[in-house]
Symmetry: C2
Subunit: 337 residues, 2 copies
């Protein structure tokens, strides 16, 4: 791997995504992308006694399915990297316990999955681990309870709020599968905070960070705007995506139809989530579902995934703090790229 700039790295032959699995909630399983997901839960409890335990079951099952697909036992897993939105990354800790593999927990809000892919691909490229499982998740009801109010209260979300995606996904990185999509380039994000304070409008908080990382990626790698079939921010939603596009344009980067957002796409056909999806599971599920399949089929050749995170907490909002944003970029190339 070659460092090509302050934040950016280019692989000579990057690690491949050897296997992946996504478990989604009922809403996500009804939409237009349902065939790309591996398992759909019948309801938000998924047979468990709490929403949190449902989310844990979802991530655990995604991990199991991923390892099974590669025929890898837990004992042969070299490293698990992951995190989620819950306080102290509860979902991931419980999954790590069931895997009993070397584990390092990450927290980058909805950018967590991208940061796992980033670190995992570096450690594999350096030859430190043979394989690495990367995972993340979110759950509508656990996130609402923790960040806003329990869904049982029946509160009205603000019209510009995004809808937290119920999904857990894991990907196994390795060097073995030449027939699977590879990670080709990385850009590590910096925190950007332009001072927004509305926790219902995380798209506006993250858009400047997304634009900053996308601009750094194209600049440091010396790429033309048409390098990627798709540049996909994590979960900026409809408003945030407009803002990001406008920030890119201001700096002379016109991506036009080549730029879109996982949050916008995942609920594209769902009027209830008018401003799109959010949550750590959003970009995880969309990347490992539709995008991975289309990279495998040749429908997409090169995609830049830009995981975006709003690094706020309920307490930081109460204390009047503005919302720090971050975004990490991971480029993937299909088999026919």
């Amino acid at each position: 791997m070659k460092r090509v700039g302050k934040q950016s790295y280019a692989f000579v032959e990057g690690p491949s995504i050897e296997a992946a699995a996504v478990v989604v909630g009922p809403k996500e399983g009804k939409g237009m992308w349902r065939d790309y997901f591996d398992r759909v839960t019948e309801d938000h409890y998924y047979g468990m006694e709490s929403f949190e335990k449902a989310e844990q079951r979802m991530m655990g099952e995604a991990a199991e399915m991923t390892l099974e697909r590669k025929g890898l036992t837990k004992e042969r897993l070299d490293l698990f990297l992951g995190g989620d939105l819950l306080n102290q990354t509860l979902t991931t800790n419980i999954t790590a316990r069931s895997l009993a593999a070397p584990f390092i927990g990450l927290y980058g809000a909805c950018s967590t999955f991208a940061s796992a892919l980033l670190l995992g691909s570096m450690l594999i490229d350096a030859g430190y681990v043979e394989n690495c499982l990367c995972g993340s998740s979110s759950h509508y009801c656990t996130a609402e309870r923790q960040f806003r109010m329990p869904v049982e209260y029946g509160g009205q979300p603000k019209p510009w709020a995004q809808w937290t995606v119920t999904a857990a996904g894991t990907a196994l990185l390795g060097r073995g599968e030449r027939s699977m999509p590879r990670i080709s380039r990385l850009t590590i994000g910096k925190v950007v905070d332009l001072g927004t304070r509305d926790p219902s409008d995380m798209g506006s908080a993250m858009a400047p960070a997304a634009a900053d990382t996308i601009l750094a990626h194209f600049r440091e790698h010396g790429l033309r705007p048409d390098e990627y079939d798709l540049v996909l921010s994590g979960d900026l939603g409809a408003f945030g995506t407009k803002m990001c596009r406008s920030l890119l344009r201001e700096q002379g980067l016109e991506l036009d139809a080549r730029y879109n957002d996982c949050g916008v796409l995942i609920f594209q056909d769902d009027e209830e989530a008018a401003n799109g999806g959010s949550g750590a599971g959003c970009s995880t599920a969309f990347t490992l579902g539709p995008i991975l399949a289309q990279l495998q089929s040749g429908q997409l050749r090169k995609v830049l995934i830009v995981g975006t995170g709003a690094l706020l907490s309920s307490l930081s909002t109460l204390q009047g703090e503005s919302i720090p944003g971050i975004a990490h970029a991971v480029a993937m190339e299909g088999v026919k790229a």
Copy 2:
């Protein structure tokens, strides 16, 4: 770097700790180790309007001092890795915003600092970054408010509870300083959970994980019990340390006086904290304070730091979940080793 076992790595010539700084609270600044810390806050507010903002100021100052000591501007910092105990790792996010360097957030409870050293030293050894700032913190009043009850309520801690250390520390890893202690070996921990459920007794929850990682470290590296002057678990406290020693003995590893615990040592002369200290700042401050100084002076030659984390949350306790433990080991060698 060479992988010597499932979880363990040995450096040929490991990265050095080029600079470090520790800011501690008033209690820590009164004790026997006070001269090893760089700055002591006069009270728990540290001139700020909330305990959380005080913790943020402490980590921000530690980072600034560390960079200043090395004469490194923020712009030349390649990577910041860190995390803390607060929900969504608030303290670290705010520090990352002030640094504006590439940032990846970690969460491993009180093992976070060890996981930052571990990842940072791997990325430097691989040549991916020239330098990496690793940081962590905890604050008695922010941790009490979040995990137990606000200190203003005057609640009585259980006699076996540990005392959260108020401290923030950061270390700059690099390859340049031959005159500074180096990181020589690593062991990445797995989650171990023997089923304890008392959140006031985190030492018992973490001791099995600490023993598991220490045993893996000695076994995979093929070391004799007298390899290190000191094997130092993070924050098991008095009871947890006894348990860890007994678990090691059961498996035939007798470390005797060569084994101790940062939590036990940091409040050794403080009757108020009878079961010792805890918190992500505990092992961070003790490692970067007394241990680093004694590695520099030659008083210590080789030390194994075993950061220990209890991966619980308030919610997991309410839901009757047992406490997953984890521990990561980082070996350091002094200049005269």
